[in-house]
Symmetry: C2
Subunit: 463 residues, 2 copies
């Protein structure tokens, strides 16, 4: 392997000059995501500037049967960027150009390394925004590759709904454009949706065309505390079932509120809480929020604490977006082991409440929070990554939580993706359909060099 | 081939009893869609009652390398159901059971043969409805297979956005379930979207889980006439760009209005016209319609002619849905040759206006109409299907219209699908991505028995 790496290093230098590295700190940095998963560094890291470079690098790797791991911002949480079989990490973060904004058509084309906040800062004066907002400052390419979502998904959808078209480098270096810049098409297979959520296992996303949305005339955020998690969840379920078009509705349990208060120096009442947001004209926002207020009150919710002006709202949502880091800060030195189940809304109250019991009876602590309007919530279990017993206990909890969600007709991951962390649940979730996914994988990556060991186990025979 | 057919006929009788036919009228009926494409009947027709039967029939056909053509309601318009290589047509229309309505989760699971009106009639008392409405009384399975849309897509999306999960029989008879009944998931490849729009070439859809929507509190429809098609289109473009959430906004040119008036005994002013609809609370509908009225007026539009009560609205939208048949009635004995381009909204006015010039200078007549809020419109060219010169002229027009749309970044088909009619444009539209689609086809149907000759040309070597 070392001989191959040396030869390949020379070949890669021909393509990208000095933008290839085998220095240990750089390798380590590219082998670690934000989760509890151990560091598994690649053999080389290439910093790519363009689709053409990615294509040339992939061709060079393919020649040597070298595994390829695409890297965006390194914010995934299921080991997506771990170089399980070594190989070359292609870091797309230097590809951070916003290529074309089409204001009239409400879409934008960006390079894969553009981050979501970079994009929204850039769009500020256009009257448009991009709604998908995972907590981290993730790259758009990475968000597309993991089918990410965030707090706005209940109204604006996930990456599934907001990616219009992709430029993708396939395992032989060929470059394709999936779909066109139109609102709909019936012209053949939906390759765009095939690559969204494929986690680098079918090809490397280098450009993304995204749907944009008009910045609403009025935006109002509110915070509402509840006697119990169940009361909060029931309010959300009723809101969704009434067809009220809430833009955000996020649950934070008491421990999460405590964490947020400490981390962001805030003073929310320590209780299960909903963070809500309403978008629209003044009349619409008034109408919708009034309806939700009534539902909340019926479920024992507090008066709404409003955040109307931009600064106040930003403070509120910054706190929400930082919950992952706020949670970790509850126990210095810990890493996050995050569950990510998503169930049908009709089963959500039961699922949340059973999960809370699991956590209450565990030796570990964890924050419960999530995008409950989608039926999706996280349990951020705090573990010492060096302590085998703790990792085993987190595993046990994760197993309980996932298996229950699957039995309820849910999914093991609403937005984090499979990586290698969720592989053990794929068979139970998909049954025979998993074989169909393998057919797709074999068709696009017969040599299994594209992010091997993610979504599917690396085949034992070749390992 | 005849020997094989006889053997297979016996085997199919073992599976479905008398529900298999080789009678000429039945074969003919299953080889004709609603378009100008010639009748190409299959060798046998099987009427399937269940997924298990479809699976058994597919296994029997696979053994004999017999082509399989799935059939729903026969309302497609690009030759999707033509048995280009003979074989067995699997008619799913007997599979018309509504299996499970989940009111709380706002979704429903149906067998593939359920039609859209059947579904909405069934849902009437639930407060929910299914919005996707192609003109024809299509089957849900067929609509999923062609990624169909209709008049509500501008607000509620197409089949792409409203299919939650599918049951599919693969080319070896294996049955898979794609995805779960949740609002979002990141658990592996998006097989649901892969099969939506795959036109029976990867597998046969036998069950569909659909997203439902709440019936709005207030529904108001309006008709507005304009001095020119451009004025009407500009009103729509501005509406979309202002982010006004119109539920329907349909263009009918003067000839279409004339056709509709005759066919439905109505008396709309013969002029380019928009049919509009607004959904929401009373306040929202008032607000939105007021904004659109102002935009329309700025573009020379007439006063809105309102249809508020259900009967009036039904009359209006029945007229819209019947335009295909109303158009054909302008020239008794003719068949429809329908274009279906979809372009970015920013190019729509130019595209419509150039297309109008093409039609004005042709020897053939045609209605222009469409879902302009999506950037999608049809030219329904009326042809005598026995007259070669007319077919050639329609071909010439279609070519002009499609190539222009492609140059504008558009697609050759917004909602009708490829069938075999749009195959000539696939390479120009997709470039290298077409090869990627072929990889998918080969992975799922190595023997090319699933609706062969659709989406891709039937390979010459094996024909």
């Amino acid at each position: 392997m070392e001989q191959v790496t040396t030869t390949l290093l020379d070949e890669l230098r021909e393509i990208v000059g000095e933008r290839v590295s085998d220095s240990k700190p750089i390798l380590e940095q590219h082998g670690r995501d934000e989760s509890h998963h151990p560091v598994v560094p690649p053999d080389l890291v290439v910093f790519a500037n363009s689709t053409e470079e990615v294509s040339a690098v992939v061709q060079a790797c393919a020649k040597h049967h070298m595994p390829i791991v695409p890297f965006g911002a390194g914010t995934s949480v299921e080991g997506h960027i771990s170089a399980l079989k070594g190989g070359v990490c292609i870091d797309c973060s230097p590809m951070h150009e916003i290529l074309e904004v089409n204001i009239e058509d409400m879409n934008v084309t960006v390079q894969a390394g553009v981050t979501r906040q970079q994009l929204n800062t850039y769009l500020r004066d256009t009257g448009l925004f991009f709604p998908v907002d995972p907590g981290a400052e993730a790259s758009i390419g990475g968000m597309a590759a993991t089918r990410a979502s965030g707090t706005n998904a209940v109204r604006y959808g996930t990456m599934r709904d907001n990616v219009v078209s992709l430029k993708v480098v396939l395992s032989d270096g060929e470059v394709i454009q999936t779909g066109r810049r139109v609102r709909k098409s019936s012209a053949g297979y939906d390759l765009t949706h095939l690559f969204v959520g494929s986690e680098g296992t079918l090809g490397i996303i280098t450009e993304v065309t995204l749907r944009l949305h008009g910045i609403p005339e009025v935006i109002s955020s509110a915070v509402c505390a509840f006697p119990s998690v169940e009361d909060a969840v029931n309010t959300v379920i009723q809101t969704i079932q009434c067809g009220i078009s809430v833009a955000r509705c996020e649950l934070l349990d008491a421990m999460t509120i405590d964490a947020v208060n400490r981390y962001d120096k805030l003073d929310y009442k320590v209780a299960p809480t909903l963070f809500l947001e309403f978008h629209g004209s003044a009349a619409m926002v008034e109408e919708q929020s009034q309806l939700v207020r009534e539902l909340a009150s019926d479920n024992g919710g507090s008066e709404f604490l409003w955040a109307i002006d931009t600064e106040e709202r930003n403070k509120l949502w910054h706190a929400r977006h930082m919950t992952y880091y706020a949670g970790l800060a509850l126990r210095p030195g810990s890493r996050g082991f995050s569950t990510d189940v998503c169930v049908p809304i009709s089963r959500l109250a039961e699922c949340v409440s059973e999960t809370k019991k699991d956590m209450d009876s565990s030796t570990l602590i964890g924050c419960m929070l999530g995008h409950v309007g989608d039926g999706n919530f996280h349990t951020l279990i705090l573990v010492d990554p060096e302590n085998r017993e703790e990792l085993d206990e987190a595993d046990r909890l994760n197993n309980l939580i996932v298996r229950r969600a699957l039995k309820m007709g849910g999914t093991c991951t609403g937005e984090h993706g499979v990586g290698f962390g969720k592989i053990p649940y794929m068979e139970e979730e998909h049954g025979e359909a998993l074989k169909a996914m393998r057919r797709v994988k074999a068709a696009f990556d017969p040599d299994n060099i594209m992010n091997p060991g993610k979504i599917f186990t690396y085949p034992t025979a070749s390992s």
